[in-house]
């Protein structure tokens, strides 16, 4: 078992809420894919329930949400839904436009990273790698309980 390499990180890149602009999420998806991760990419405008289902079925380590037009305001609802469905180990990061004063609410709700404009590719890739490792540890811990 120790000899087997870790399977690639699995990331769901998606958008919830009402906005359809996906230039940023497509680029980030390509960055993560090029870094060797398995990226599950959805079209924008996903319902929260659909994201929970996908995250469960695809056994993802990390969910990356792109939000440009206030869709971050319902991210706390997604966090509650993930938790209610036994997905506490899944790490959630958000990218796009989050006004300074509204970041706190996201962190309080359990979001692990926020990537605003100007975030570099390396920074995003490194952070997702790290969070995925954490997610796997935490999933193992959950299973042992």
């Amino acid at each position: 078992m120790t000899d087997r390499p870790d399977p690639p990180v699995r990331v769901l890149v998606t958008k919830i809420g009402l906005d359809g602009h996906d230039r940023g999420s497509r680029i980030v998806a390509a960055y993560l894919r090029d870094a060797g991760m398995e990226v599950i990419y959805t079209a924008p405008w996903q319902e929260i329930e659909a994201v929970v289902t996908l995250a469960t079925q695809e056994d993802v380590d990390v969910i990356g949400l792109s939000t440009l037009a206030t869709d971050h305001l319902i991210v706390p609802d997604l966090m509650v839904a993930l938790s209610a469905n036994g997905l506490d180990h899944v790490r959630v990061v958000v990218g796009g436009i989050i006004p300074e004063g509204e970041k706190k609410d996201l962190y309080t709700a359990g979001v692990k990273g926020i990537f605003g404009p100007g975030s570099s590719r390396d920074e995003i890739v490194a952070s997702v790698q790290e969070l995925a490792a954490e997610a796997r540890q935490s999933k193992l811990a959950e299973l042992r309980l």
């Binding site: 359809g20 602009h21 497509r26």
Partner: protein, 560 residues
Amino acid sequence: MASDTKQLSLPGFEQDLAAWQSRYAKEIGEDKPVFNRSGIAVKPLYTPADWSGEAYDTDLGFPGQAPYTRGIYATMHRGRTWSQRQLIGLGTPADYNDRVLKLLDAGASAISLLPCNSGFRGVDGDEAPLALLGTCGTVVNTTDHMDRALKDVPLADISTAMNDPCPFTLLAFVLGVAKRRGVPWEQITGTSNQSDYISHFVANHMFYRLSLPGSRRVLVDHVAFCRQHVPNWNPISVVGQHMQQAGATPAETMGLTLSTAIQYAEDCAARGLDMDDVLRRFTFFFDISISVFEEIAKFRAGRRIWARIARDRLGAKDPRSWRFKFHGQTSGVDLTAQQPLNNIARVTTQAITGILSGLQSMHTDSYDEAISCPTEEAARIAVATQNILREEAHLCDVIDPLGGSYYVETMTDQMAAEIEAVIEKIDRAGGMYAAVECGLVQTLIGHSAREFQERIETGKEQVVGVNCYQDENAVFAEPEPYRPDRDAMAAHIADLKTYKAARGQDTVQRQLDRLARTANSTDENIFAAVVDTAEAGLTHGEIIACLRRELGFGQPLVVA
């Protein structure tokens, strides 16, 4: 370059040019190649060796003369300046009305209504999360809502653009309001300026509205209806802006937009509509990026190519049908969340570019648009920016002031060649509709977006506050983002629910059945049915839900 060897009858020209070239090479040291955003190499100097004006009559002509390179009207901005059309969308209809009246008072001369993202998503306000309502766009779901949004706005005197994709419920509401106020539809002017379903599919993934074939049919129905009943309304606006914002280069954008226009014109012709009648009402909507000369060349080339397409390919006979009328919006993608006040300088630069390009209508972005929907102060500065450029800067004194510049004319020709190559590529794929169905357009845009981002990552493209001059970030306070009054929005939604419940449910069902039957027929006009349905009191979400059931849901065509 071949043109360098062109023989010119200018005494001493060749020797002087050679002398400058050797001096330039000596003094510049390492001359790094420069490319514009469309990938065209830019030389340090342009001379009569690049552009001699020999083809003046065929390629340029005079303003108001085909091929309209120098402008579509004889007088251009010297006769009438552009419409100051600010895109506005926020909160409840009452919030919208308050902002519109203030900005009209401040100098705006036309209206543009942006519906809430819930509307774009195809649902009513009571079907979407309250937290998101009105944060980006106004919640307008019924004729009553539109009446409130346009209170004290004289419909017969002010041009009203509706950001209204298929099936055009917002225009249906406007027509209902006009009827209530006794304004004949002949007097209504404006544009369905999000009518371009193809741009939505490839750039904003508007598949939640209707399927591609469904949208295709409804658009032609909409054009046919408007030509008959709302003759001064522009039913089509071909939107290059979406594609450029999504990542297409300026040249690609113009090529894809003209290919889209060809597709729509051919679809109208296939329905038996008269080409001259339809093309006279075609309008275009573009992004104005901060790449100044490239944008000016893009627009000048676009005017020339469209005139030739309309005449030679689409067979329009009246020179007025060959006019490339366009609205320009300063590019939001160029704005930065970092050091937001700097966006005022960016918007000003983009606006000057648009004016020098000879646009007919313009929106200037607010400096806080990279953070949120514009606050009132920021929106006022955006309006004032246009006022200053129009009144103080002497930009409107001379028509096409950059015409005849060796650089601008050469770049116009080079952009034209790139644009024509894109149109050819789309033609080979079977036209724009087929190219979108198979994902070709999405792939093209995705690749260009990725390349541009890599240019920023590697510092080839410098963006102040993003990859250079970041030190100043700390001293710029972030503006307070616009958020609508939550209680007022909750009350607006409660009213909507009461309204829906209070209607005779038999009548509602009858109307929906009728709309469904029309959608299933092959010869009835769906938009005419949408207008009737809206007038009967049905809502945006109800109309779209019905048409989605009958015409199908779009499928995502994401190509990463």
